[in-house]
């Protein structure tokens, strides 16, 4: 400890506040420039704290699942009836899917079509979530060691939940669809109209850049477009939930606020993903052309 005389200490304490406030403002302004150093420090810190989070998450999960089990006791009868009905319906769909699968396979063979293969899924547990008033991201306990790369798509139980935005060696951050910074190229499944799904800090992100005379309707399914090279085409995202004076909102398929596990999907596309800092400046460069390539395959 530095030994200072009383008046000196008092002066230091008085000066500390304005100094630290100015430092905070300076950091905010610097952060606007997306400095790589800050990001690296962040991933290192996440890596270092990942074991701590895992340790804490365990008892929390036990309590949470206990609470859920208690709640489930009251609904077990209704739940059973519902599941029985759903099972009957799903069995029908299974038959349909098998038939279509065979048909699809035959048609692919005729066309010599090579599908974009999934290289693998990496399942990670959510160990921290931002929980703030303006951030929607989660930290998962898989990283470079498990093969996670920046830009890969993250799926919840039902559909896309976001994309990997930062990767450390043993933890990665997934930017959720609802985050302010999230932009995902999507397509309306029925009309094949393209749009961008943009998070705006509400639970239902907006569809931007729809064609002017769009035939979009409430309930339309939204899937990834595959353009931009971030996501492979055709992954389920959600359904249009409201159209209000030109503002079209989408209810995500997966419940983003209750994620426990995410599956990170390696489609072998990450090679074409530009670093985040390069995304806001679209230029007609080679990289741009390469990004647009997967689009060609998806056109019906």
């Amino acid at each position: 400890m530095l030994r200072l005389s009383m008046p000196m200490r008092a002066a230091a304490q008085r000066l500390a506040l304005p100094f630290l406030i100015i430092l905070s403002v300076a950091l905010i302004v610097l952060g606007k420039a997306d400095i790589l150093l800050i990001e690296r420090a962040r991933t290192d810190l996440n890596d270092a704290l990942a074991p701590v989070f895992e340790l804490i998450a365990q008892p929390v999960n036990v309590v949470a699942s206990g609470v859920r089990r208690f709640q489930d006791h009251f609904t077990v009868y209704e739940e059973n009836t519902r599941l029985r009905e759903e099972n009957a319906r799903l069995l029908q769909w299974q038959g349909v899917a098998q038939r279509l699968g065979t048909e699809n396979e035959e048609l692919r063979q005729m066309l010599h079509f090579t599908p974009q293969g999934v290289r693998g899924y990496i399942t990670g547990r959510v160990i921290a979530n931002s929980g703030g008033a303006f951030l929607r991201n989660v930290l998962v306990d898989v990283g470079e060691r498990q093969g996670v790369e920046r830009g890969q798509a993250a799926l919840g139980g039902e559909g896309v939940v976001g994309r990997v935005s930062e990767v450390g060696s043993r933890a990665a951050r997934v930017l959720l669809l609802t985050d302010l910074n999230s932009r995902v190229p999507v397509v309306l499944e029925d009309t094949r109209e393209r749009a961008v799904l943009a998070g705006d800090n509400t639970s239902r992100p907006r569809l931007l850049y729809l064609p002017e005379k769009s035939a979009v309707q409430v309930g339309d399914r939204v899937v990834t477009a595959g353009s931009g090279g971030i996501f492979p085409p055709g992954l389920p995202v959600g359904a249009v939930s409201s159209i209000d004076g030109g503002v079209v909102r989408v209810e995500p398929e997966s419940e983003l606020s209750r994620l426990e596990y995410v599956r990170i999907v390696d489609f072998g596309l990450s090679g074409s993903v530009l670093p985040q800092s390069a995304i806001p400046a679209p230029k007609p460069s080679r990289a741009g052309r390469r990004q647009a390539d997967p689009e060609i395959d998806t056109r019906p």
Binding site: Q13, A16, L17, L20, I21, L23, S24, V25, A26, L27, I28, L30, G31, K32, I38, A41, R42, L45, N46, L49, V52, F53, I56, A57, V60, N61, A64, V67, R68, V126, I127, A128, N129, S130, G131, G132, A133, F134, L135, N137, V138, L139, S165, E166, R173, L180, D200, N201, T202, S203, S257, R258, L259, E260
Partner: protein, 171 residues
């Protein structure tokens, strides 16, 4: 001699308690709770700890510690670095200036004081973040977090008072 040293060490740990509990609050605010009420936003636990310690033991929570807590919070949540530091430092300064009006008063008064602080902090955070992103961000999440924070304050306050009573009587 050894005993005195040990006592001094315990004293040190005790005196670090405000900082440690504030750090703990930072971690608590990012641990996924999977509870229905806390799913979208979690209460601003660090603000509660800072309010409590600024009121009762500001000598054990220097400005630098508050700054560091803010940085840690921003790093863990991938927020623009410096936003939480700024908000928490200003909150600290505000409470420090109003301390004498809140000390030795019934809990309701302290709670109302916290309500004012939480409202100011949420508003400031909204302004700073909106400026940062260059757009007016939806305020509902900020409002909701503010309400949640004020509502959970009594519980956290109770726990911090327990820590203070058991560990800090001698320090």
């Amino acid at each position: 001699m050894k005993l005195i040293l040990l006592q001094r060490d315990i004293g040190l740990i005790n005196r670090l308690m405000p900082m440690l509990t504030t750090m703990l609050c930072v971690i608590a605010s990012v641990v996924p709770a999977h509870l229905p009420a806390f799913t979208v936003v979690t209460p601003a636990f660090p603000l509660m700890a800072i309010y409590h310690w600024t009121l009762y033991r500001p000598d054990l929570l220097p400005f630098v510690a508050v700054f560091a807590v803010g940085l840690l919070l921003d790093m863990l949540t991938a927020a623009p670095l410096g936003v939480s530091s700024l908000v928490l430092l200003l909150a600290y300064a505000l409470v420090l200036g109003q301390r004498e009006h809140l000390l030795m008063r019934p809990f309701t008064v302290v709670w109302v004081g916290f309500l004012v602080l939480a409202a100011a902090a949420s508003a400031l955070q909204w302004v700073v973040v909106s400026l940062f992103y260059g757009m007016l961000i939806d305020v509902r999440a900020f409002l909701f977090q503010g309400v949640l924070t004020v509502a959970t304050y009594p519980v956290v306050s109770y726990l911090l008072v327990r820590v203070q009573r058991t560990l800090l009587m001698r320090a």
